[in-house]
């Protein structure tokens, strides 16, 4: 077992562990903080998979911007711990659990069947960002520009939705 694989596996275990912590915590702020750690682990995984640019984006945009937005909204709304109360439909929860186990089994079987089916890479990827930029600004220029319009639309939409209603 080489160092690269060891680091990847350790980071993946950390990611999964903190994602599980996020799921079981009843307090949303603690959930968000656990998810920050999880996303940092995922960034380490991306570096090990020779995608350092995506790792940087993961830290800057996901952990730095999206999760901070979540924290802002949580503190704005002052959302507390989920109250422990009797579920109005316990059968729904049980069915969800069964569906989850079935889904996990299906996914595991599928991945086990497919994991080894990939041929060896033609050429190893480098840590260089320049080829990615060339691809992004040449072949994928139109989707890239469309994305900027989408982000603008999301900005306007969020503003309109969150605005206080004023009767003029």
């Amino acid at each position: 077992m080489t160092t690269q694989r060891l680091v990847f596996d350790a980071a993946a275990v950390l990611t999964i562990l903190f994602a599980a912590v996020m799921t079981v915590h009843r307090h949303p702020v603690k959930s968000v903080l656990a998810l920050v750690v999880s996303f940092f682990g995922l960034a380490v995984c991306y570096v090990m998979l020779s995608a350092p640019f995506i790792a940087a984006i993961q830290v800057i945009v996901y952990a730095g911007a999206i999760l901070v937005l979540f924290l802002f909204v949580l503190m704005l709304l002052n959302v507390g711990e989920e109250t422990r109360e009797r579920d109005p439909r316990p059968i729904q929860r049980a069915l969800a659990g069964v569906a989850l186990v079935l889904f996990a089994g299906m996914l595991l079987g599928l991945l086990r069947a497919h994991g080894a089916a990939i041929a060896a890479p033609r050429d190893a990827l480098t840590a260089d960002v320049a080829p990615l930029a060339r691809l992004l600004f040449a072949s994928y220029l139109l989707p890239f520009e469309a994305l900027s319009v989408l982000l603008l639309a999301a900005l306007v939409g969020a503003f309109v939705l969150a605005r206080r209603e004023t009767d003029s």
Binding site: Q4, L49, V73, L77, L100, P121, R122, L161
Partner: protein
Amino acid sequence: MIGSIPLGDVLLASGALFTIGLAGALLRRSAISIFLSIEVMMNAANLALIGYGSALGTLEGQVVVFFIIAIAAAEASVGLAIFVALFRHKETIDVNRINLLKW
């Protein structure tokens, strides 16, 4: 194999992460927790894309992940704005109490 990481490891991690996200989305009651679980599922898909991209020696996987992260940012801003508007009307974001569209 990516360097010395077998693709199976990457896919296993991705599958586990997706299942955890799904569990959160199905079992939580706070709308924000459900939203966070959806983010986890999206990241599981990202991990699988990066793994396949590296295994095949192409950069397309990274380009797709780049787009997904940008769209996730847009989705998060609109989703959280919806929660703020919802909280203003109902004073709660517990999904058991938000049943306007239920018959």
